[in-house]
């Protein structure tokens, strides 16, 4: 065998950019078993693994990788499930480069172990070749938990508590479960049957999933207690779109990323008219913002047939919050970056339809509160960009539907729920919260980490009391 450090990182095969930019199929194609074993064999299985510390749910990374390296795929998935109920999702959408892989010793001199790719391989292998076995479930406790929302933090809570013997009901406002995994993240990054499979896994474990249930409207948190629930977990996500508040924003052709992506992903509007929900087919599309949601929006627009797609962002490339891999994928697909550019006004025609956007060029000044250099407008630099569709992806706020109808549950100035960072306990007895409704928009894995802590705390409460 060659020296370990000399083996190169197994590259993930992908659809070629010129092909994938016009289809909705997944971009990375996945490892073969041989590639996975070869990659796993690069792992040094460190005694004090830094990668595990970098993981918000502390997956036993050297453990599952060493099982993989021996070709024990079933053992590897069992190991993964011990800490992570959504490995197929995390393997795809976690920012490994700043978490587990970012801490990998091999990364100091060469390429880190492809932990995300291996996690993805393991979960996909179990899904397609597994025997459908379920983790053991403890004896029924008779205690009932309502989990509000069905995104990553809620699914984690549901999975953790159901195996501990509690009766778990997940309440989802949409007609399909999965939260942001279903309405937000596009098919080409996270195929929807994978999410459906993960939810189905929980259902087989005994979790009851009720869709079309808007907590705050169909039922309130207090009514859930009246119905006999012993604890409530609130994981409803952020889900309030932010706009720029610039003139002309209500012209036809300006959509929040929430709306654009929900139409495309949840409603499958990219198949219109085969499905009944339409989506604006922009010829010249501009996406405002530079996070992962902006990249998802831009790449969706390209796949819907746009002639040009531009990302307009007021800071420079260095400050773009999206993962590098996403920015790289977007650029490969022909999406242009208009950096240090800020929109000031929308222009429309007499039918109220968007025709263009006026922008100002920016330069970077002194650092602001976030530590990033503040973009400052350059006087007289106004120019116009032609566009018929703008997707506003500048972040989201706290949706107030649930909090406004729940007494004694404290929220902060921005409407996010106040929850203990260690336990997820809110100020209301019997209620926990986690994920984006506590932290503001963050990542899938951070939401799952919060879910894990809350599930432990809820279990303690149901066992010992508040």
């Amino acid at each position: 065998m060659a020296k370990k450090e000399a083996a190169p990182r197994q590259a993930m095969p992908e659809q070629a950019p010129e092909i994938r930019r016009r289809n909705f199929e997944e971009v990375p194609l996945g490892y073969t078993a041989e590639m996975a074993v070869a990659e796993a064999q690069r792992c040094l299985t460190c005694k004090k693994p830094a990668c595990v510390e970098g993981c918000p749910v502390n997956v036993d990374i050297p453990g599952f990788i060493s099982l993989l390296s021996e070709g024990n795929f079933q053992g590897a998935i069992r190991n993964l499930w011990g800490k992570n109920s959504l490995p197929a999702v995390c393997g795809r959408v976690c920012p490994q480069e700043i978490q587990c892989e970012g801490k990998c010793i091999l990364g100091k001199k060469g390429d880190a172990i492809a932990i995300g790719n291996l996690e993805r391989f393991t979960a996909d292998y179990a899904r397609t070749n597994g025997n459908g076995e379920l983790p053991p479930r403890q004896e029924k406790t008779g205690r009932k938990v309502a989990v509000v929302g069905s995104g990553p933090s809620s699914l984690t809570v549901a999975g953790d508590l159901v195996v501990k013997g509690h009766d778990v009901t997940v309440l989802e406002a949409f007609h399909k479960p999965g939260g942001v995994l279903v309405y937000g993240i596009p098919e080409f990054r996270l195929p929807k049957d994978i999410v459906a499979h993960e939810v189905d896994f929980l259902s087989r474990l005994g979790v009851d999933v009720e869709c079309n249930s808007v907590v705050g409207r169909t039922v309130t948190v207090d009514e859930l207690f009246e119905q006999g629930y012993d604890a409530v977990y609130v994981g409803v996500g952020a889900g309030l779109p932010r706009f720029m508040n610039i003139p002309g924003e209500n012209l036809i052709g300006i959509l929040s990323a929430n709306e654009y992506l929900t139409r495309a992903n949840l409603m499958k509007a990219y198949k219109f008219p085969e499905v009944d929900t339409p989506i604006p087919m922009g010829k010249n599309v501009i996406v405002l913002g530079a996070g992962n949601v902006a990249m998802d929006s831009a790449r969706t627009a390209m796949r819907l047939g746009a002639e040009s797609v531009k990302i307009v962002y007021r800071r420079s490339r260095e400050e773009m919050p999206a993962r590098n891999a996403e920015i790289h994928h977007a650029e490969e697909e022909g999406i242009e970056l208009f950096l240090l550019t800020n929109p000031t006004k929308y222009i429309g025609n007499d039918k109220g339809r968007l025709t263009g956007m006026e922008c100002l060029k920016m330069e970077l000044g002194e650092p602001d509160d976030s530590g990033r250099r503040r973009p400052v407008p350059i006087k007289g630099s106004e120019f116009e960009l032609e566009c018929d569709l703008v997707v506003v992806a500048v972040g989201s706020g706290a949706n107030p539907l649930l909090t406004q109808t729940t007494d004694d549950m404290k929220t902060n100035n921005w409407g996010y729920i106040e929850a203990d960072p260690e336990t997820g306990k809110t100020t209301k007895k019997g209620v926990w919260a986690g994920g984006d409704i506590v932290t503001g928009a963050a990542t899938v894995i951070l939401a799952m980490g919060a879910g894990r802590k809350a599930a432990d705390s809820i279990h303690d409460y149901l066992t010992w009391g508040w």
């Binding site: 406002a173 949409f174 007609h175 869709c211 079309n212 249930s213 808007v214 409207r217 169909t218 039922v219 889900g239 309030l240 779109p241 706009f243 508040n245 924003e249 209500n250 036809i252 052709g253 959509l255 929040s256 929430n258 709306e259 929900t262 139409r263 409603m267 499958k268 219109f272 008219p273 085969e274 499905v275 009944d276 929900t277 339409p278 604006p280 039918k351 109220g352 949706n399 107030p400 539907l401």
Partner: protein, 276 residues
Amino acid sequence: MFKIVKREEMVGGTIVLNEIEAPLIARKAKPGQFVILKANENGERVPLTMADTDPKKGTITIIYMVVGKSTAIFKSLKVGEGFQDVIGPLGKATHLENWGNVVCVGGGTGIAVLHPITRALKEAGNHVTSIIGARSKDILILEEQMKAASHELKICTDDGSYGHHGFVTEVLKDVLEKEDVKQVVAIGPVPMMKFVSLVTKGFDVPTLVSLNPIMVDGTGMCGGCRVSVGGETKFGCVDGPEFDGHQVDFDELMMRLQAYSDEEKACYNEYCMLDE
């Protein structure tokens, strides 16, 4: 599935009533609130304000005009069949108060939405005058129900085939001139609500209108239902559906309702061709 327990066709089948089993919604719903309905797996999420609810029976009633593919699919559903998804109750309930003298103005299928509000206003102790209108006598709906829900009912038709020959605004003006009206509620086509609000503004009478903008989730998430109210952007689904008619930018709303008009036409035509 949310089963249809009663189905009626009105106005030669262009307007349809469905009473639907939805006990959780029926238990909570108040006048003025809406639901989102999705007929099947590939269906669109369609918001409709409820025309009635029966908490005891656990049913809600919707009355809709067949205007496109989605409502055509709704129409094709028989008693015993149902909607794959019904979500609600959504939006804020009508603010009800005993103002004294109120006028309820309705047009088209808006009368269906107006009816439970009219009834509730009467129950709250108001003296209710209702004015309902249609293009012609044979497309006027819920006359009997509106009569029972009001102290006085006035009818208008554009073609003069029944009641006053002309628009609801003319009759409304007449009432406002003669009586000390404290509150007007107007629900119907956007142009009707716009002109009613213009008339009542002249008399300085507060006016509530109920809007039905394009939306996806109905829970404040998508922002597709943006309406300008008093120069501020509001979300129809969570801040509404009812707003102060004197503050609403109706022209912008009318434009925004056209966002998918081409797609809707193409989609409906294709569906109708398949149907033939």
